[in-house]
Amino acid sequence: MRRRLFLQVAGLGVAGACVPIARALERASAAAPAPGAATGKRWAMVIDERKCLTREGCTACIEACHRGHNVPAMKEPRHEIKWLWKEPFGNVFPEQVTPYLTAAARERPTLVLCNHCDNPPCVRVCPTEATWRRPDGIVMMDEHRCIGCRYCITGCPYGSRSFNWVDPRPHLVGEPTDYPTRTKGVVEKCTFCSERLAAGKRPLCVEACEGLSCGALIFGDAGDPGSPVSALLRERAMARRRPQLGTSPHVFYVL
């Protein structure tokens, strides 16, 4: 009799435990994102080209970024350092250029920056792990460890990286901020303002754009279904630069 009672109670207990497990499994499968979509925290940016183009010649985001990060203004084009800049549309999206596109449309300035790829070629070729992909998607740069080999520059299909051919300090514009400058012989690029994200702030470019109430730059966590950037990514078709390369860029464009 005691054994029978034990078996009954144990059986009921196991059955009871199965219910929440089954529910959790059900939830997990229902919420499972599509392959390739972010599951954890994943910073991403959307550039709304049409909104951006409403302000012709606007460089507020570029100025905010370059001033905040003490990006020098080099006189020699071959020494140029760029974190966020504009390129002709035809160069940014060569595969989107149709024979019908006007020359003006082909030439229209398009904002470009590091794409913070899921599968960054720059990281794969870096021999010292001076650049690596953080779990939140940011492709970080540790200038302390950079030996200046420039493999990453060769590896990056977007030209997002700049090399310091000369000491950048004499070429700073205006009063520098506390953000460290770089030194001759290291590579640098956009880090999605990792130092600001750590303090709970948004990137400088995004803030500058919002300051003009333009809203062309939308930044957030693509892994959080409730974030505005996630909503946009779900609802709007987006272009990414050279997706055929398999790098999975996380800077998206509304063209």
């Binding site: 540790d142 520098p176 750590a198």
Partner: protein, 126 residues
Amino acid sequence: MHDTGKVVLGLGLFAGLVTGPVWYGAGGGKGEPPVLERPLDAKECIEPTPFMRARHMEMLDAWREAVVRRDEREYLASNGQRHQISLTGTCLGCHTDPAKFCDRCHQYAAVEAFCWDCHHRKRRGT
């Protein structure tokens, strides 16, 4: 053994030259230990002075790894206080002028610090 005298003289000269700096130092020399300008408003550093004196370089190394590579931006000191991990933000908050603190010792010890190639020597609070 015809040249004993020359050999001994040579050895003596060699020993004298090699140990020269020691005699120079012992006789007063120019080897004044550096006088460091201590912060006026701060009583103590984030860790006890002997530790900082001996191991600040290891700490700064650990700090840069923590911030840049692991995104950890807070340092828990041995006395339980928390500090922002930042050379310009925290260290220069008290040691306002590296020329009167870091440089004097580093010059004396002939150790080149390349922190300032990139990090600013002045805190602006921006």
